[in-house]
């Protein structure tokens, strides 16, 4: 009697994680969370830092909102979600400012803007408020990883093309000879961001994954 639910719980967990990663990838499929994807992906460091932040907030808010889902009155649920998310974002911002100052400087207002990132409020409303804590954690991990993957892809392209080298946490991983002398700086600038994301979206659609309008 107790074996069966155990197995299906683990299976459910994995399914949720995978869902957020591929089928419902927040950036490429649901086209959510655009602002950070474009603004922050000028370097891998920034992209990773932002992703870590988003995962932290997503996990925190999903857990809390799922915990209180049965005693949250419908009437004020959106303000409640917003307050919970804003709290986690503020905590994140303070921690970064104290312990990761250079990251804090380069992310700037986009760190605070995590609070209006459609992804997080969307998951709270659509999932965490209606599911168990375990599943909400799975959802957060899946969506968070999907977001991270998207940010990594975009920032890899932009940093390599735009600076000719790949530098992570101060260590230059590699540097492409001709490109690093005459980098295509276009890609680190705003137009480059739009272009890369647009072409990636087209690629995903061509691969049959993107939802059509």
């Amino acid at each position: 009697m107790t074996e069966q639910p155990q197995i299906s719980n683990a299976k459910k967990f994995t399914k949720e994680v995978l869902k957020g990663f591929v089928i419902a990838n927040p950036v490429f499929v649901l086209v959510l969370g655009l602002c950070p994807a474009l603004a922050v992906t000028i370097s891998i460091d920034n992209a990773l830092g932002m992703s870590a932040g988003v995962i932290f907030v997503l996990l925190g808010s999903n857990i809390i909102i799922s915990l209180i889902r049965k005693i949250t009155p419908q009437l004020v649920r959106i303000p409640i979600f917003i307050v919970v998310i804003a709290t986690f974002v503020t905590i994140l911002s303070l921690v970064f400012e104290a312990y990761f100052p250079p990251l804090y400087e380069s992310l700037g207002i986009y760190l605070s803007l995590i609070v209006v990132n459609c992804i997080i409020l969307g998951r709270a409303e659509a999932f965490a408020s209606k599911n168990t804590v375990m599943l909400s954690i799975a959802d957060a991990i899946g969506i968070g990883l999907g977001f991270t993957a998207a940010m990594l892809i975009v920032s890899l392209i932009r940093e390599i093309l735009g600076t000719g080298k790949l530098t992570v946490f101060g260590y230059t991983l590699f540097s492409i000879p001709v490109l690093s002398e005459y980098p295509l700086t276009f890609f680190i600038m705003p137009p480059g961001a739009f272009l890369v994301l647009g072409l990636l979206l087209a690629l995903f659609r061509w691969l049959g994954v993107l939802k059509n309008e």
């Binding site: 005693i71 009155p73 409640i80 104290a98």
Partner: protein, 205 residues
Amino acid sequence: MDNNIKNNKNNKDIKNSKSANNKAKFAEKILQNRFYPLVFLTIIVFISVSMVMAVNNITEPVIIAQRDAEIISQAKVIFPDMDDYVPRDEYYEIFSGGEVIGYAFIATGQGYGGEITILVGLNTDFTIKGITIIENTETPGLGTKITESSFTGQFAGLSSGDVSLTKEGGEIDAITGATISSKAVTDAVQKEMEVTIPVIKGDLE
């Protein structure tokens, strides 16, 4: 005998389920109360604010300590011989080999993109030893040129009266295409000099 035990067990079950029922009804009542949403929201806000303040108490000293460390490392750029310093209310006394070799203080101005933080180093005769731009959010490639020595180097040796843009009669050439950033720096430095130098002189007496 068995019947008694059974009865007791039944009674206990009934009592337990009754109190469980009462608890459920009580909870229902709270949840249905018209003031509940507002109370709940207030409680959540209260908890959130407390948590944020708690985290802030932990991180604030760390952040302040970092700022101090940064100022001192920048001061070393202006005074390479510096080996000690004494922080005063409004400035730092810079020592080398036991002697005062200069003074340093922060000047802030509003540039084009936000606040510009400048560290000003003075010689003992109150002419500028040098300045460095500690923080700025100016336009990359234009306003950010204020951090280059081609701009900051101009300040060396000047007394406060000369610290303004050449087109205003002073000695500093503005950066082309970044007039606002340039003026923000000169104005900030001059103003802070005019405020701080009297204070230093007062302390020396």
